[in-house]
């Protein structure tokens, strides 16, 4: 029986000398490894390959974490097991690595048993002492260095990195909106003392700020050319008129100076917001083209941000996508056995926004189903064109049109699911006892996280074309949507 153990310093191959161990009671095995001398009676070092340098160690370890048989490991095993003519089976701690070794080198790999596990533990206890020429302190330094290199490498190539950019950007966008609103309100309030009438005439914040910056005191209204800031003529005239009869108070130049600074800030921030939003759009179309096409970059980015990453969003079932962002309402509903929310962040998507209030829930469900498919394609595929998104958006739009037309009558054909029509449900029935089953429905959802695209389709089918046994569930979904 051979044992393969990996250390930060290199690979070690041990032979079990005391064959009795393999048959002994697993619990007693560790007793045989109390001291180094005990241990060396049980196992012997057959071979040891020391990594030449940190780079080699780093490479080897990366391969080991991936369970792949790297060059150095292959060479080591070939030389010391295959070429040495050892026919014993090999024990490896990582099952997948074992399978790969067997495939590549044809070495028989034994199945992990309690006894083997115990022996491995015993060897590990005295690992450095059992390997000649290896110094405990040296191994410690190496493992420290290796750990740092590995984690640095890992963090550098963090797959979430691109998502992080999006998450940060959308977070900043929200912050900016809040701040901008605050500033603009403050500006209106402040300048309003001087010229209260203008607030009503110019409702748009940016235009307001620009006018304040341009005009300054209201007495200057007459000679100001408002076309410079793109204010339409009739509004400009109105402002001029209002300035004549304004009942605002006088302010000093100093006051005005400060107000102008604020208006400048508002303008700057608005411009910055625009460029940030452009950046977000670019990023989003690059990493999630389909998702972005369906709901726009803002909602798309918020969904990703809520889920943590595009990948984890892709792993969510569509029922979760539908209510993402409404967790609070969901859990409240679950606790009190009330109806669960029908939509979360998705509510702000234009497809949902444009539908009639009564249909919003239904449409968000339809949209969520398609969205989760889009996310999966975006996360796992390598499409750059939103072909799927285009198709699905059209589908949802058509679906919306049909629903608005009157009806919940059957939809002729779903795009991705031609057979769905046959099973389409009749107008929904308001079921009773919904709260309970609604809960089942929702609670079940997170368990399905591993769903792959295939499952996703099945899931969708379940929602759109319920088989008879799913009737109850369907009813609930319908009701949620109502």
């Amino acid at each position: 029986m051979l044992l393969l153990l990996e250390t930060p310093a290199g690979y070690a191959l041990f032979t079990v000398k005391n064959k009795k161990l393999l048959k002994a009671d697993a619990d007693s095995i560790f007793e045989n490894f109390k001291s180094v001398t005990d241990a060396s009676r049980q196992v012997g070092l057959t071979a040891f390959h020391k990594f030449e340098d940190t780079k080699a160690a780093m490479e080897a370890c990366t391969e080991l974490t991936e369970s792949s048989v790297g060059k150095s490991l292959k060479k080591f095993l070939k030389k010391n097991v295959v070429d040495a003519g050892l026919a014993d089976s090999l024990t490896v701690l990582d099952k997948q690595l074992g399978i790969n070794i067997n495939k590549k080198l044809g070495i028989e790999v034994s199945v992990m048993s309690d006894n083997l596990r115990e022996i491995m533990r015993g060897v590990r206890l005295h690992l450095t002492e059992l390997i000649e020429g290896l110094d405990e302190q040296e191994v410690r330094t190496m493992s420290l260095g290796l750990a740092h290199t590995l984690s640095r490498f890992k963090l550098k190539f963090s797959p979430d990195k691109v998502d992080t950019m999006i998450i940060q950007a959308v977070g900043l966008l929200d912050d900016l909106d809040k701040e901008l609103n605050n500033f603009a309100m403050r500006l209106r309030e402040w300048y309003g003392w001087h010229f209260p009438e203008m607030g009503k005439i110019i409702t748009e914040n940016l235009a307001y700020a620009k006018v304040v910056r341009l005009m300054g005191l209201k007495t200057k209204a007459k000679e100001t050319d408002f076309s410079e800031v793109n204010v339409p003529e009739e509004i400009a005239a109105e402002v001029k008129q209002a300035a004549e009869t304004s009942m605002g108070t006088e302010i000093t130049d100093e006051d005005l100076g400060n107000i102008k600074t604020l208006s400048e800030r508002v303008i700057e921030l608005t411009e910055y917001r625009a460029s940030l939003s452009e950046y977000l759009k670019l990023r989003m179309t690059a990493i999630a083209p389909n998702l972005t096409f369906m709901v726009g970059e803002l909602v798309g980015a918020r969904l990703i941000s809520q889920a943590g990453s595009l990948m984890s969003l892709a792993k969510h079932p569509s029922s979760t996508v539908q209510i993402l962002g409404a967790e609070k309402a969901l859990f409240r509903a679950l606790k009190t056995k009330k109806q669960t929310p029908k939509y979360g962040l998705i509510y702000h998507a234009s497809l949902v926004g444009q539908s009639a209030p009564a249909l919003k829930g239904k449409i968000s469900r339809v949209l969520a189903a398609k969205l989760s498919l889009c996310c999966r394609v975006d996360a796992l595929g390598d499409q750059v064109e939103p072909t799927l998104g285009e198709e699905f958006k059209e589908y949802v739009e058509r679906r919306l049109a049909t629903l608005e037309e009157g009806g919940m009558k059957s939809l002729s054909k779903g795009i991705s699911r031609p057979t769905a029509g046959k099973h389409q449900k009749k107008p929904s029935v308001r079921g009773s006892g919904a709260a309970h089953s609604a809960e089942d429905d929702v609670v079940e959802a997170p368990k399905k996280r591993k769903a792959k695209a295939v499952e996703a389709e099945a899931e969708e089918e379940a929602e759109e074309a319920p088989a008879p046994k799913k009737k109850k569930k369907k009813k609930v979904v319908e009701e949620e949507a109502e």
């Binding site: 701690l93 990582d94 596990r117 590995l150 640095r152």
Partner: protein, 289 residues
């Protein structure tokens, strides 16, 4: 227990009437600054300004005596705070050397709360090799690193890249911390970095924590090694009563070879949390060891 409450009350006092010396004045927050300042500025407050550090019952931890006691650890990297915590400088017994300590806030750490709360045995001690699962940004890990000292090792496993970054950064300054950015559910992915350890501390806040811990134990924990788990009832089952959750978690551990020794609730520092300490594969004969 009850300490949290008391400390708060004192804090208020301290702001009003200035330190009357002795145990009364000075809130928690003020202590570090007050003492340090007292030292350099000639100590108006007399005796109260001096930092008095006493060893805690558990080796590796210390208590700073005075206005009100607080848990501290001896700073392995003097002159640096890890997460903005207060540092205290005390003179050693002979008055020659200055030793720096870092204040350990039990509200921010499960282990800290456990030690303040009076846990019976603490396997995290000088020279120990500790596998720490769920290292997060390394706040508690840094104190563990202080406790085990230069002879010990802390292998800190954390799978979130965001926290892993802070953890790795912290570890740069502390040669006894080995940062591992991996999922604790897959110990085989970091098996080559870790030798046998004396103790596993786990605070991963996952429903399958018990399994994660015993799985890691089967790879890396010595027989008679210690297991310390912080269980957040909410994380395992948010509907059941915390007590029931703790009991069922302990049961799971027992099934996988952990002999539970002690269970401590972490009130008032952490709600519905318990710290469970046990021994892995305790050998029957040599229990004393």
């Amino acid at each position: 227990m009850g300490k949290g409450g008391k400390a708060k009350g004192k804090g208020k006092d301290g702001k009003g009437g200035k330190g009357k010396g002795k145990v009364k004045g000075g809130g928690k927050g003020k202590k570090g600054g007050g003492k340090g300042g007292g030292k350099k500025g000639g100590g108006k407050k007399g005796g109260a300004a001096k930092v008095v550090i006493e060893p805690h019952r558990h080796e590796g931890a210390f208590v700073s005596k005075g206005k009100d006691d607080s848990l501290v650890t001896r700073n392995l990297v003097p002159g640096e705070s890890v997460y903005g915590e207060k540092r205290l400088v005390a003179e050693s017994a002979d008055g020659e050397d200055k030793i720096e300590y870092r204040v350990w806030n039990p509200f921010r750490s499960k282990l800290g709360a456990g030690i303040v709360g009076g846990i019976g045995a603490c396997p995290v001690k000088p020279g120990a090799k500790v596998l720490y699962l769920g290292g997060a940004s390394g706040t508690t890990v840094s104190h563990v690193s202080d406790m085990v000292g230069p002879e010990g090792v802390v292998y800190a496993v954390e799978f979130s890249h965001r926290s892993g970054r802070d953890l790795t950064n912290m570890a740069k300054r502390r040669p006894n911390v080995v940062p591992i950015v991996e999922d604790a559910r897959q110990p085989q992915r970091y098996r080559m970095l870790i030798g046998m350890v004396d103790c596993i501390f786990s605070d991963v806040a996952q429903p399958d924590q018990a399994r994660i811990v015993t799985h890691n134990a089967s790879f890396f924990l010595k027989n008679n090694g210690w297991v310390m788990i912080s269980i957040k009832a909410n994380c395992v089952d948010s509907t059941a009563a915390p007590e029931a959750v703790f009991a069922s978690e302990i049961d799971k551990l027992r099934k996988d070879g952990v002999k539970p020794k002690e269970q401590l609730t972490l009130e008032p520092y952490h709600r519905d949390h318990a710290l469970v300490v046990g021994i892995y594969r305790a050998s029957k004969k040599k229990k004393e060891e």
